[in-house]
Amino acid sequence: MMPQLPSSRFWLTRPFGERTTQVFLGVLFTALLVVTVLHVAVPQGSPLHVNAYTVNLFGKYLSYALLAVAVDLVWGYLGILSLGHGAFFAIGGYAMGMYLMRQIGDRGTYGHPVLPDFMVFLNWESLPWYWQGFDMAWFAFAMVLLAPGMLALVFGFLAFRSRVTGVYLSIITQALTFALMLAFFRNEMGFGGNNGLTDFRELLGFNLRSNDTRLGLFLATGVALAMGYILCRAIVTSKLGRVCVATRDAEARTRFIGYRVERFQLFVFVVSAMLAGLAGALYVPQVGIINPSEFSPLFSIEIVLWVALGGRATLYGAVIGAILVNYAKTIFTGVMPDAWLFALGAMFVLVTVLLPKGVAGLLRKRRRAVESDNAGTKEAIA
């Protein structure tokens, strides 16, 4: 890489001047375009046709990719290994799910005009207070960001103020998501218990079961991923991003030169939680259900594996990791369902041994090799 000065550009547009971001956005939007064209313009039956199921699947991968970017922001750049990001993802998902439930209206099995089916089934008289307002899209969409953000704010405030870091923080994030899972399993919580929220029909008036809506959701997720990536990239290329890296490597030293480290950690943690919530909200309408299994500690650990496989502290590595692992998961669970966990374990071991910097490390090495080759040729010519 060429030596570089920190940039003097406006912080939010700074990523557009970077080669990595340009390449990333180029690849992402080309992929979105290709899938759309192959889905819409290529006739069914042609081997090139991408069917609605696959589009839906890709949309799901993209929401996972956004989640992985959120995790990489806190883990890669801030050094906080969160094993509970699934919780923020699930809460964003639940906020979206609650909106979708309220959209069902009186078309549910029991035909109640306001109460979702599971509440009628449990003989509830009225809507709990925290379900109020979710019939309005703007409120629900705000909650998609605010609910995980608030949880991260309170949790992070307590954790970072007490200077809990490292393994201890990982363990309590894990405990957080586990506690939430147990809570959401309870029917009394009012989130549908074990079954969660499902049977969704419409999002903003679009029928969720139509292929066009699915394509729309896939594209929306792609755009959200691009925006999330740009935001994270803007953060990590700012001076604040360098303070994060400094905190990651020498926390006491960073505090000593005058930065209130716990506030920086809290800020980045909350941003990351909100992105995870957004990812969850895009995920739910595409899979058609949200239930407490998304809070499972195993899921949160799996997210970390995606990031590790793709390459930590690169952001695009997280995207590659999330898509690769989930694609492999789709294939494996189709072919040999029992072998999936072994395959995941094997992938993790192989990458750790052979590619300690993940797939992104491999790409970077290749690029450097090409660059030095070019330099060599230029010298030879000169």
Binding site: S238, R242, D249
Partner: protein, 278 residues
């Protein structure tokens, strides 16, 4: 005179009305003034009635055997340790005993620890950028831009510490000596009035020591510098005035030659050293 005007005229400014970070007042000579300072940890007196004054722009070396209280003295000045008794003034206006660590740091007292800690993943340039005196709250940091002025300031410090060639290299690849210089540079970015430097040449090669001596003597005059050091050769090469600490108080003070002739000093410190050497 109208009533309104009578409010405007002030013959005194109350202490609590004065801006908190008002500049250090050195009109009366010393920049640091410690009087009768005592620190006891469970009855053990790490510092015992210590009196020390550092003049503005002075380069002072503090020597003394292990356990003489050198590090504790630094801890008191930077606000890490509170003395049991005594007073510590920075200039004639700031009572350091009423301030916490960040306040003292922002007042212009910089401290370099023994073990160099630089941000290894960041470049030398970025290390200096982060250390610079600036608005260090979240949003100003997020939206901060690199301006020509900041760049000039960083380049100036890079020049002083002799790392201009390596400015885009990650700090992790620097040698031990270079890391020490970078750390001194990071202190300089904060435009300190008083630099506290703890054992700067431990583990350095002969050439690195020479460079460090040049660097520190170059800084004196612009800043006041207090160096705690074990290496006698190094102290001899830079010091104009040396203070010898022993069991928490000042044993002797003066030029290196005066001090090394002092029989008390020879007994507790230099003598012992010479025997070891022999």
């Amino acid at each position: 005179m109208s009533l309104l005007q009578s409010f405007k005229t002030r013959d005194r400014v109350f202490e609590f009305m004065a801006p908190a970070a008002s500049p250090v007042d050195v009109r009366h000579g010393p920049i640091l003034y410690m009087e009768d300072v005592t620190v006891s940890f469970d009855g053990f007196k790490a510092i015992n009635k210590l009196n020390l004054t550092i003049d503005d722009g002075e380069l002072r070396c503090i020597i003394g055997p292990n356990g003489a209280g050198k590090t504790t003295m630094m801890d008191i000045i930077t606000g890490k340790t509170r003395p049991t008794e005594g007073s510590v003034w920075f200039g004639s206006r700031h009572n350091l005993l009423n301030m916490n660590e960040p306040e003292i740091a922002s007042l212009g007292i910089g401290r370099k620890f023994q073990k160099p800690t630089v941000f290894e993943a960041l470049s030398v340039f970025e290390n200096l950028e982060l250390a610079m005196a600036a608005d260090k709250r979240i949003f100003p940091t997020l939206t901060a831009r690199m301006t020509g002025e900041i760049k000039d300031r960083i380049d100036e410090v890079l020049e002083t510490i002799g790392l201009t060639q390596l400015r885009f290299q990650p700090a992790g690849i620097l040698s031990h000596g270079q890391k020490q210089w970078l750390e001194i540079g990071m202190l300089l970015m904060q435009r300190p009035r008083l630099l506290l430097v703890d054992e700067p040449v431990a583990g350095m090669t002969e050439q690195e020591m020479e460079r460090t001596a040049e660097l520190l003597t170059g800084l004196a005059g612009k800043q006041s510098v207090v160096v705690v050091e074990h290496d006698m050769g190094f102290v001899r090469s830079i010091a104009r005035k040396v203070t010898v600490l022993h069991q928490g108080s000042v044993l002797a003070e003066g030029s290196m030659d005066q001090v090394s002739c002092d029989p008390k000093v020879v007994e507790v410190y230099l003598g012992a050293d010479d025997e070891e050497a022999a």
